[in-house]
Symmetry: C2
Subunit: 343 residues, 2 copies
DNA sequence: TTGTAGGCGTTATCAA
DNA sequence: TTGATAACGCCTACAA
């Protein structure tokens, strides 16, 4: 039974075929300067003997791993699993492999993940930052070694790291502007940790839109939480206690928006008539909740594809890291019933 | 600047400290027989010099990779991203790393993924089978090399491969039984590819429950599709054309169930009064759709944790593969409004 | 077109 | 407790 006892090496193949190991090595990697016939024989023998190349040896020799590392806050969100799926597709199509880890939203784990990635000798790294990450020194060892690190979605401005994200400011501006145009005057804004660009930018967009409509920003209307269903339900309860009630809610993710809608509906609030609501992300649930949720569409799958492509281009073209610009992807406001007041 | 020029090796550290590379190696892995002081010095120097161990060399020498491979049909489903999150947690806590790839539901890609995993020398493999996989010969090379392969969720019965799954037969039986108890007499059953245990078993459960209630199985009431929202909407349209209308629908995932509910509601059907509906998986949308969806809860996160733990136990205890039994995880029927008829 | 030979960085064995 | 040495399997100048 081939391969059942010990691993076959190129030397075993060489011996059997009375050629040198070098020739076997060349043949197996389609090196141009090797006789067609010899190559055919070698490939055939390799298959018969159950040979598999030893990537450790090869990597050791060549000093690269063909592995792309990914660090994300959580794997199990609708958005992030789309991103990962997109990354995987591109990475796989380019004969790279993927090592994935999650920071579980803590900087501590993010640091330890980064260390692991470094020791695993990833050729490049894709990162979306944890909720509470305050610095990115833990990625410096990569830069020193010229291993490209690319941030996506939850990014940090820094010359060494190319970034891929959407224009969160603009998207949030559009959402808020839309709500205002629907007649909202007092819009509660539920938002996340202001350390992260995605959240800070959205708050900025909210403020800016208010200003454009000559409405004073009211700190009391901003609720910062972790955007989970649980904390958002609590936020909705708090909103119910407000007097007067707000007439709009803009919350920066859909999990949170759905949770709010559920609480408010149960309390007898009419949506969008009494309170218009908009979210962010266009999760599948946005089209399931009633009324359907107005939100920002922002395709994770595409972001994953683009991020992976950019990184791999780097790697194969040996471009200098600095040369790559940041990339801003398109997002779009999708207006649905949760914010559509009849004229 | 440490580490900025060339990679530091144990020889560099050895030279600087006037000890041998062997001692450095031992010190860095906490080998017991090395002087406390020497160790301290070595560890300190390593940090200062920006040393990182070369996993290629180490793996080559030790003949294992500390990498666990995962092959799943798709990464971006609610269930699967939970599974992956669970796997990642356990794998990471045990100082293994994770290589992930998706078969995109085709056997062809599954085979090529398996090859890549083999060449990457994973220490173990976790697999959930693609929609149309008919054989599992592509995993035999792992078995020959005593690399454990463990199937989860979408499994195949085979002595060489331990399996983790839920009792799909029982779960489906309970769902059907519940619908029957609610007074349903004609239950449409929407199901997936019967090649896969998860789907075949659920059909079996459906049939068995009918039989227990002395209701004849009617082939006409079974719709086989890919369980996507799109095909399920089409199925719902077909159901609307049935004469007489069925009074129940049991579909084997929640995406499908939600899609059906949306179509039926739009057509003016009262749920659950006219048609009671149940799904499978307990996706987040199950609690968002109105009426809330009766479904089978079946925690992916836990399945991921258990699968990874089992595999890693194998690896660390060097147990024989055959000794591990299959594991059946708990699942539970969750009755919600979509199937609750007032008595 | 093919072969020779050295080295990638680590660890295990043996000896000191 | 430490050191010398020989693999691990592959790749790539360089030579033939």
């Amino acid at each position: 039974m081939p391969g059942s006892e010990k691993e076959i090496t190129i030397y075993d193949i060489a011996e059997k075929l009375k050629v040198s190991a070098a020739t076997v090595s060349r043949a197996l990697k389609d090196h141009p300067r090797v006789n067609k016939n010899t190559k055919k024989k070698i490939v055939k023998a390799a298959a018969e003997m159950g040979y598999r190349s030893n990537s450790f040896a090869s990597n050791l020799r060549r000093k690269n791993s063909n592995i792309i590392g990914v660090i994300v806050p959580r794997l199990n969100s609708s958005f992030m699993s789309d991103v990962i799926a997109g990354i995987e597709k591109v990475v796989n199509n380019n004969n790279y492999n993927l090592i994935i880890s999650q920071s579980l939203e803590t900087m501590k784990k993010e640091i330890s993940n980064a260390k692991a990635m470094l020791n695993n000798r990833v050729d490049g790294l894709l990162v979306s930052l944890a909720y509470d990450t305050t610095g990115i020194e833990h990625f410096e060892p990569f830069i020193k070694r010229k291993i490209p690190v690319l941030f996506f979605d939850r990014i940090i401005e820094h010359a060494h790291y190319p970034q891929i994200y959407i224009d969160n400011f603009k998207a949030a501006y559009e959402v808020t502007d839309h709500l205002l145009q629907q007649g909202c005057k007092r819009i509660v804004h539920i938002n996340g940790n202001q350390l992260r660009n995605v959240y800070a930018e959205r708050l900025r967009g909210y403020k800016q839109a208010l200003e454009a409509h000559h409405i004073d920003f009211d700190e009391q209307l901003v609720i910062i939480n972790d955007l989970s269903a649980k904390e958002s339900a609590a936020a909705a309860e708090a909103i119910l206690q407000m007097n007067p009630l707000p007439d709009g809610i803009f919350t920066v993710n859909d999990v949170s928006a759905v949770s709010c809608i559920q609480v408010l509906k149960k309390a007898g609030i009419k949506i969008p008539e009494q309170i218009a609501i908009a979210g962010f992300n266009n999760d599948p649930a946005a089209c399931v909740i009633e009324p359907n949720l107005t939100t920002v569409n922002y395709k994770g799958y595409e972001m994953g594809e683009v991020a992976a492509s950019m990184l791999i281009n780097h790697l194969t073209n040996r471009q200098d890291l600095q040369q790559t610009h940041s990339l801003i992807l398109r997002s779009e406001l999708i207006v649905r019933e949760s914010s559509s007041r009849k004229k």
